[in-house]
Amino acid sequence: MSEELTGPEKVPSPEKVPRPIDLEQIRELLESKKGRMSFCLSACAGCTLCAESCFLFRKHEEDPRYMPSFKVLNTLGMLYKKKGKVSREQLEQMKELLWKNCMLCERCYCPLGIDLPNMVAFARSILRSQGIDGVFPHSQGAPEPE
């Protein structure tokens, strides 16, 4: 049971050493939705029409890093390509794409029916399982496995 957080002193300090990446856990998570995710990733034609539906893309003067397909291909796409064998640094780099560059307003649309919001949400949950969370940077992440 985690101790209760009842005051500012109880917030975990940022210097806490992060636990090592659990590659097996990542692999299992990737497997659990592999059918649907790899179907979507393989169907992406790179047409970039999804960019039109992202208000952040438009707001940031059409910066490609806000494009939904870019966000997904460089996070979930990379996770599947590397079969989950990633380092903590690589996961940390994905954090910005998943949390800063995306609000999960779920309005991005793909003419080919690829479910972009769910792919971002899934990538977020994989990162959170390793203790990396873009909303609460000092979060302890998911509970330690038994």
Binding site: A43, C44, E62, Y109, L112, G113
Partner: protein, 211 residues
């Protein structure tokens, strides 16, 4: 030719089965009242203006039109070419109607110009370059090859037999590659656009991704 067709049909069947396996029918809303759809002339004009302005056609008209024309010709040419229909009649006794060769010629040029447009777009436009990989260029070449070789064969610019053989091989390769590369968007586009219940579905759309 048989191998390629079998691979194509088998591959497509596999992809479609996969699609249906990965999606499911969704529960629908209970809607007690009927909504009144306003259809005055002003409303219709407004819908047209919105369509022309706030969709892809309005924001990137060149891309929208080029893609539309390109894909139309892409589908029409293999089916409506006289040479193909002759072969079809020889093999299976059926054929589609054929367009005059001059028309097919122009359409092939349109397709090739479209390929050039997409290639340039992929190289020049930063947001497209950002998500382009080797597969994208390879697939573009794969799609262009049958049309280029067909064009050269028809005009008999080089050794006819060689070019024709390459044309047939290129066509088979493209056909076989469709289920396994991003070219599945050929089939997937129609399934997704009609069957998924999203904002933009073209039909009633009763399916959604299952977890």
């Amino acid at each position: 030719m048989w191998v390629a067709t079998m691979v194509f049909i088998g591959g497509i069947a596999y992809r479609v089965a996969q699609f249906f396996r990965l999606t499911k029918k969704k529960e629908m809303a209970y809607c007690p009242t009927q909504s009144i759809r306003m259809d005055s002339p002003e409303e219709r004009k407004l819908r047209l203006v919105l369509f022309l302005q706030n969709t892809l056609l309005g924001r990137h008209p060149v891309m929208a039109i080029v893609a539309l024309v390109f894909h139309f010709c892409l589908f029409a040419i293999p089916v409506l070419t006289h040479a193909h229909n002759l072969l079809l009649r020889e093999s299976w006794g059926i054929s589609f109607f054929s367009l005059p060769n001059a028309v097919i010629d122009v359409m092939t040029v349109v397709v090739l110009l479209g390929v050039v447009f997409f290639l340039v777009r992929r190289l020049v436009v930063p947001r497209v370059r950002a998500v382009s990989s080797f597969q994208d260029y390879l697939v573009l070449a794969l799609a262009a090859a049958p049309f280029l070789t067909g064009f050269i064969a028809y005009h008999q610019w080089a050794s006819y037999r060689t070019v024709l053989t390459v044309h047939v091989l290129a066509g088979e390769l493209m056909l076989a590659a469709i289920p396994f590369t991003k070219l599945t968007h050929m089939i997937f586009f129609f399934f997704a656009r009609t069957l998924f219940g999203t904002e933009f579905s073209l039909w009633r759309g009763r399916r959604t991704w299952s977890n």
